[in-house]
C-alpha cells in the first residue's frame, strides 16, 4: 500500500481517485458525485498518509478507524479502499448493482474496510464516540476519524454526540466537517443556517482547526495538530467546494445526487487530466 508524506504524490493520488469516482458513478447511473469530490482530498490524506490501517487487519486493535458519517459519499470511500487493496479495483464498476459488495451507502456486512453502516445522516459521530470510548477502556492508542457533511450537522443527534465527545474528553476523536456550503435543496445557509460554525463547535467543547479542505498540506498539518490535542475532541473545519475538480459540477447543487452522462464524463476526465 502506498503511504507517503509527499504532498505532490498525495495530490496525484487524489486526482486519480477523482477519476475513479466519476467513472464508477457514470457507470452506476446513480449516486452522489458532489459530496464525494469535496471529501476526497481529506480521505486521501487520511488513508495514504496519516491514518494507521491495515488491509489485512481491518478494524484491528492497533489501528485507527474511520467513520463516513455522510454515507452518501460512499464512492469516495470505495475508491480509496480499492486503491488501498481492501478489494479489487474492478469492484468499483459494480457500484450499486445487486450482487456487488459496494452498496449505495456504506454497508459494513458487505464491504471490507467498512466498520459501521451509515447513510442515515447524523449517526456517525455517535458511533465514532462509541469506538473511542471502547478504545479508551482498552487503553488502545487509536484515533477515530469521522467525516460529517455541513448539511448533516442540522441533525440534532450530531449535537448530542458533540456533547458526548467533549463530556467524555474524547481526544481520540478527530472529526472533519466537509463545509461545501450545499445540501440537496440548496445552499446550507438558505435551507437551515448552521453558522457560526467554529463558535458552535468551540462552545461545545471542541478544539477547532479551520482549513482549506483541498489543501493537502493543510489537511496533514491539521491532523497532526489535532492528534496532539489532549482532553477534548478536535474538529477539522474544512472549507471545500462541492464537485471539486470537475468544472461543471463545482458549486452546483444539481450535482449532489445526479451522475454524469457519458458525454459529461469525457469533459470531467479532460478536466481531471488538466486539459
Amino acid at each position: 500500500m502506498e503511504y507517503t508524506d509527499d504532498i505532490g504524490v498525495l495530490k496525484n493520488i487524489a486526482n486519480d481517485l477523482r477519476v475513479d469516482i466519476v467513472k464508477c458513478l457514470t457507470k452506476s447511473g446513480s449516486g452522489h458525485p458532489g459530496g464525494s469530490l469535496s471529501a476526497i482530498d481529506m480521505l486521501t490524506a487520511l488513508y495514504f498518509s496519516r491514518m494507521r490501517h491495515d488491509v489485512n487487519n481491518s478494524g484491528g486493535d492497533k489501528y485507527d478507524r474511520f467513520v463516513l458519517s455522510k454515507g452518501h459519499a460512499a464512492p469516495a470511500l470505495y475508491a480509496v479502499l480499492a486503491r488501498c487493496g481492501y478489494f479489487e479495483k474492478s469492484c468499483l464498476d459494480t457500484l450499486r448493482q445487486v450482487d456487488s459488495i459496494l452498496s449505495g451507502h456504506p454497508y459494513a456486512p458487505s464491504t471490507p474496510g467498512v466498520e459501521v453502516s451509515t447513510g442515515s445522516l447524523g449517526q456517525g459521530l455517535s458511533m465514532a464516540n462509541g469506538m473511542a470510548l471502547a478504545s479508551k477502556l482498552d487503553n488502545l492508542d487509536r484515533t477515530v476519524f469521522c467525516m460529517l457533511g455541513d448539511g448533516e450537522i442540522q441533525e440534532g443527534q450530531v449535537w448530542e454526540a458533540a456533547m458526548t465527545s467533549a463530556h467524555y474528553k474524547l481526544d481520540n476523536v478527530i472529526a472533519f466537517l466537509d463545509n461545501n456550503g450545499l445540501q440537496i435543496d440548496g445552499p446550507v445557509k438558505d435551507i437551515m443556517n448552521i453558522e457560526p460554525i467554529g463558535d458552535k463547535w468551540r462552545s461545545f467543547g471542541w478544539e477547532v482547526f479551520e482549513i482549506d479542505g483541498h489543501d493537502i498540506g493543510a489537511i496533514l498539518t491539521a491532523i497532526d495538530k489535532a492528534r496532539k490535542v489532549t482532553g477534548k475532541p478536535s474538529m477539522i473545519w474544512a472549507h471545500t467546494v462541492k464537485g471539486k475538480g470537475v468544472s461543471f459540477m463545482e458549486n452546483k447543487v444539481s450535482f449532489h445526487g445526479v451522475t454524469p452522462t457519458e458525454i459529461e464524463l469525457e469533459t470531467a476526465l479532460a478536466d481531471l487530466a488538466g486539459e
Binding site: 459501521v116 442515515s120 449517526q123 455517535s126 456533547m163
Partner: protein, 320 residues
C-alpha cells in the same frame, strides 16, 4: 400451578433483577458496558454505574446518541447494554436501532423498562404499547418479553452468550413469580406453564400470569386450557404454536401490547400460513391509554383475566 398459590404468589421486580444481575455480571465480564439516558435510577442500571463507574456511560437525555454510541462500542468489541423506558428506546431511537445497530448486526442489547400499560399513572405518553411491533419488524433483531423476574434473570444471562441485536422488554411493576429459579428459558422456545387440551392461551409478560388465573376460572366451567409462555417473540416457537393449533384447535393470545404487530400478530401469521385455526387476540386496541392504576387500566383496556376468559369463549365458538 395450583389455584391457591396463584393468589399468594410472591411478586418481584423485573428491572431490579436486571439491574442487580448486570452489575454482578460486570464483575466477571469486563467487556460489558452499560449506557443509560438519565433514567438509571428507574431502569436500575444505577447499580452497574455504582459498581463499575468506568464502564457506565450516562448519555444524558439523548436516546438517539445513546443507541448509536452503543453501536460504536459494539463495533469495537464491547458488549453494550443500553437502557431507558420502552417508549423512548424504541420510538425515539428507532432509526438509530435500524441504521446503527441492526444493519451491521452489532452486538447491542437494548433492555427497556416501563413497557406496557402497567406504567400506570405516567399516562399514555409513557405507555409503550407498540414497542414489540416496532422491534419485531426489524431485521436481525431478537425480541424477548420475560414474564417475571426469574425469567428476566435467565434472559439477561442468555443475552450475554448470544451475539447480535436484542430487545428485552421489562416493566415498571413487580410481577408474580410464575417461574422457579430454573425457568428453562431458551431462545426461540416457549414453555407450557399449564397443560390442557381444549384451547391454548399463548401469552407473554404479565399476561402469562393473567392467563393462568383465567385458566383456573375456566377449569371450573370444565374447560381445559393450555397456557404457554411465549417470551421469545422473535424468533418465535412455531413448532409449539402449530402443536397447540393441531391439538387444541382454538387459540387465544394475550399480551400487554397493541393487538397490532405483537405476539398476537406473530402467532396469527404462523397459523394462517400452516394450519388456519381461530386465534382471538387479547391486547390493547390501537388507541392511547390513560393515567391510572395499572390494574384498573388493564381492566379498562381489556387485558385482564375477564378479557382472557371472554376471548377463550369466543375462540371456542369459532372452533371447527
Amino acid at each position: 400451578m395450583a389455584e391457591l398459590t396463584l393468589n399468594t404468589i410472591e411478586k418481584k421486580s423485573l428491572r431490579d433483577e436486571y439491574g442487580s444481575l448486570i452489575a454482578e455480571l460486570g464483575d466477571t465480564h469486563k467487556d460489558i458496558v452499560v449506557l443509560d439516558s438519565d433514567l438509571s435510577c428507574s431502569t436500575k442500571t444505577a447499580k452497574f454505574a455504582k459498581r463499575h463507574p468506568e464502564r457506565f456511560f450516562n448519555m444524558g437525555i439523548a436516546e438517539a446518541d445513546m443507541i448509536s454510541t452503543a453501536a460504536g462500542l459494539a463495533s469495537a468489541g464491547k458488549k453494550p447494554y443500553a437502557s431507558t423506558f420502552a417508549v423512548f428506546a424504541t420510538g425515539r431511537a428507532w432509526d438509530q436501532i435500524r441504521q446503527s445497530v441492526c444493519l451491521s448486526k452489532l452486538n447491542v442489547k437494548i433492555v427497556s423498562t416501563h413497557g406496557g400499560i402497567t406504567v400506570g399513572e405516567d399516562g399514555p405518553s409513557h405507555q409503550a404499547m407498540e414497542d414489540v411491533a416496532l422491534m419485531r419488524v426489524m431485521p436481525n433483531m431478537t425480541v424477548i418479553v420475560p414474564a417475571d423476574a426469574n425469567e428476566t434473570r435467565a434472559v439477561i444471562t442468555e443475552s450475554l452468550k448470544t451475539p447480535g441485536p436484542m430487545y428485552i422488554r421489562l416493566t415498571r411493576e413487580k410481577f408474580p413469580l410464575i417461574h422457579g429459579e430454573d425457568c428453562g428459558f431458551k431462545l426461540g422456545k416457549s414453555r407450557v406453564v399449564r397443560d390442557g387440551g381444549d384451547i391454548a392461551i399463548l401469552a407473554c409478560g404479565y399476561m402469562v400470569y393473567k392467563s393462568l388465573q383465567a385458566a383456573n376460572l375456566l377449569a371450573e366451567e370444565g374447560i381445559s386450557c393450555r397456557v404457554i409462555n411465549m417470551s421469545s417473540i422473535k424468533p418465535i416457537d412455531e413448532e409449539a404454536i402449530l402443536r397447540a393449533a393441531t391439538e387444541c384447535k382454538a387459540l387465544v393470545t394475550a399480551e400487554e401490547h397493541s393487538i397490532l404487530g405483537g405476539l398476537g400478530s406473530a402467532v396469527t401469521e404462523v397459523v394462517c400460513e400452516n394450519n388456519p385455526t381461530p386465534v382471538v387476540r387479547v391486547g390493547m386496541d390501537p388507541v392511547f391509554g390513560k393515567s391510572g392504576k395499572s390494574e384498573i387500566l388493564l381492566e379498562k383496556f381489556g387485558m385482564n383475566t375477564t378479557a382472557i376468559v371472554k376471548a377463550v369463549h369466543r375462540s371456542l365458538s369459532l372452533k371447527r
